[in-house]
Symmetry: C2
Subunit: 128 residues, 2 copies
């Protein structure tokens, strides 16, 4: 399989697949013409990475998860720990964004949004 076939199969851009090889997440072989040749295991790994990234795991987390996935003697506790840590960080980020949203929503609601210069949003930013 060439790179564009793999891109179609996994939904990942070819650029991203090359990048994942660069940083050592996958190791496709090479054909005589220098083209990357992807085995089923590579495609499988890339699909795994795509789903892990879609869940917001960092590349380093993905590396860890992939290593755990390939380690038959792993402890599920190790996987769970990575996921729980990520879950907690997602929670933190949501809380932060919600705080911003609440403040912003209040400000937006209080702004007339007309042709006059008077604006509570700017007033708030000018001295919180």
């Amino acid at each position: 399989m060439n790179i564009s076939d793999v891109a179609k199969a996994t939904g990942l851009p070819a650029k991203t697949i090359r990048y994942y090889e660069d940083i050592g997440l996958i190791y496709p072989t090479r054909g005589d013409n220098g083209y990357r040749v992807f085995a089923d295991t590579d495609v499988h790994k890339l699909a795994f990475l795509g789903r892990a990234r879609a869940l917001g795991f960092s590349i380093e987390d993905c590396r860890t998860l992939l290593a755990l996935y390939e380690d038959d003697s792993r402890a599920s506790a190790d996987v769970k720990a990575v996921a729980e840590e990520h879950l907690s960080q997602i929670g933190d980020k949501i809380a932060q964004l919600e705080a911003m949203r609440d403040t912003l929503r209040t400000l937006v609601q209080s702004c007339a949004g007309d042709a006059r210069p008077d604006c509570p949003i700017l007033k708030d930013l000018a001295r919180g």
Copy 2:
């Protein structure tokens, strides 16, 4: 005022203040020794920027907001438009994170988290 005084006054790191000058958000003057000299207006602007950034506005949004702030003939509608657009993007990001959180939470709950290798999290990632 020298840069470290301004840093204390605004809560922004000196590095960030220099960066804001680099990208043309502020224009402190210079003393004979080459040191930046900050006027009250500069400090005021930096505090404005700090609060806008804390609400998640991009630097480009901040530039726009600052320009509007300094334009006495602005229309509050223009400010409101920037804020509403940002508010909507925050909403999108929250929704995305909440989707991740829901999926992840379910996966984490279903994982025993013990010494055995069997793991529903990896199973899910391996073929979603």
